[in-house]
Symmetry: C2
Subunit: 227 residues, 2 copies
C-alpha cells in the first residue's frame, strides 16, 4: 500500500527512504547512538530552574504554603535560565519550567502589556517572589473557550496584572508538558522594588479571590530579597 | 521585610520555614539528593515515544519529507506510551511528545468530536501514519486569538478533521515544551483501516492547503502498516 505522492509547496518532495538530514537525532550506529544520547539531549532553550537550598543570590525572607502540600524550607534561592542536572549538593528542591507562547492573551491585551511592562533584572527590583501553583484536573479538562472565560471574563487575570505595571515585573514558566512529571503546573516569578511590596500584596489578594483560583489545588509562596 | 500573612480559603496557613511535605522533590541530604535525582525524575505520564529503526510492530511503507529537513530512513516504527532512555540500539531516531489539554477546541466542538471519534487500537485499523511538524517563529509569536482565527475560522482545521470521523482515529502529541529541545512541535498519529486510505489522503490534502499550513516549516510523513 504505497500512497500517491503528496504535493509540497515549499520543498522538493524527497521520496521514500531517501537519506535525509538527521538534525539533532541519533545516528544509526549502535555505539554512536548510545554515546550521542546525552549530547543530543539539547535542553529546551526556554527552560529555567529554581533551586531552593543553602546557596544562591536570593535570600529567603518568607516561605509559605497557601494550598495543599508545601516545599521543604530553604534559606536561599537561585534562578537560572537552564536545567540543572544533577542538582547542586546544597539543594533541597529544584523546580523546572519553560517560558512559552501565551495561552489566553489576545493581541490587544498583549499590546497593552508590552506598552506598560518592564523587564526583569532592574537594579531597584531587590524583592522577588516565586509562586508555584498546580491547577486541578477539572481545570485541565475544560476546553480553551471555557478556560479563557474563567481566566479573563470572570477573573480578569490579565486586567488585574495590568493594574500593577510597570511596578511589578513578571515571568511565567510552564511545567505541565515537560518530559518529567513536575509537582506544579506553573512557576511565576515576580520582581519589584521594596517600596512596591504593598502593591504586590494587593495584586496577590485580588488574584487569589478570583473564580480562577478555585481551580488551584497547590500553591506555595517564596519571598526573597537580593542577598 | 516580612510581608503580612495572606489568607487561604482551603488550607491552614503554614508559617515561614515550617517543615512541609516534600512531594516528589529531593531531600536535603547531599548523598540522598544525588541518589534520588533519577528516581525522582518521574516521567510525565502523558509522554509518548516514536522509535524509528529496524524493529517494532509497524512496518514502514513510505517515508517522505514534505517541508524542510527529513528524518533518517527507517524500516520499522514503534509507538510507546513512555520515554525511552537510552534509545534501543537499532533506533535511528526517537521522537517524544506529550498528550495535553486542547489548545483551540471549544466545548461545542469537543462535544461533536467526542460523539463521532473512535479510540486508537481498533483491530481493523491496520494502517497508521506519523506526521511530525514544526511551525515557524511567526506562528509562535501570534497571540491565542490570532492562532485560533487561523486554525479554525480561516483553516477549518477541526471541521476538516470532523469530516473523516469515525474512519480516521487521531492522537496529537505536543513537543515544544518538553525539557529537551525537540526537532518538531507536534507529532500526530493517525490510525485507519486500509479501505479508508483514500479518505485519509483527502484529509491531508485539505489540511496542507490551509492558511495554517503556511506556518509549517518542517513536515515529515511516515506511513506504516501492522507487521
Amino acid at each position: 500500500m504505497i500512497p500517491p505522492p503528496v504535493s509540497s509547496r515549499r520543498s522538493a518532495l524527497k521520496h521514500t527512504l531517501n537519506f535525509c538530514t538527521l538534525g539533532t537525532l541519533w545516528p544509526l550506529s549502535n555505539s554512536l547512538a548510545q554515546a550521542e544520547v546525552k549530547t543530543n539531549m539539547n535542553p529546551n532553550p526556554r527552560l529555567h530552574s529554581f533551586i531552593g537550598g543553602l546557596e544562591g543570590p536570593w535570600r529567603v525572607t518568607s516561605q509559605r504554603t497557601l494550598i495543599g502540600d508545601g516545599l521543604s524550607p530553604v534559606t536561599r534561592l537561585n534562578y537560572l535560565p537552564e536545567n540543572i542536572t544533577p542538582p547542586p549538593s546544597h539543594a533541597s528542591w529544584v523546580l523546572h519550567g519553560a517560558t512559552s507562547n501565551e495561552r489566553y492573551v489576545t493581541r490587544s491585551e498583549k499590546e497593552q502589556l508590552l506598552a506598560k511592562q518592564k523587564a526583569l533584572g532592574r537594579l531597584e527590583a531587590t524583592c522577588a517572589v516565586l509562586i508555584p501553583i498546580k491547577k486541578n484536573e477539572k481545570w485541565w479538562s475544560l476546553t480553551q473557550d471555557e478556560r479563557r472565560e474563567i481566566f479573563e471574563a470572570q477573573s480578569h487575570h490579565n486586567q488585574i496584572g495590568m493594574d500593577y505595571l510597570p511596578a511589578i515585573a513578571r515571568r511565567l514558566h510552564h511545567c505541565r508538558d515537560l518530559t518529567s512529571s513536575e509537582p506544579f503546573d506553573f512557576l511565576t516569578w515576580f520582581e519589584f522594588a521594596e517600596e512596591h511590596t504593598a502593591e504586590f500584596d494587593k495584586l496577590l489578594t485580588r488574584l487569589r479571590a478570583t473564580e480562577e483560583w478555585k481551580y488551584v489545588e497547590r500553591e506555595v509562596e517564596v519571598r526573597v530579597t537580593k542577598a
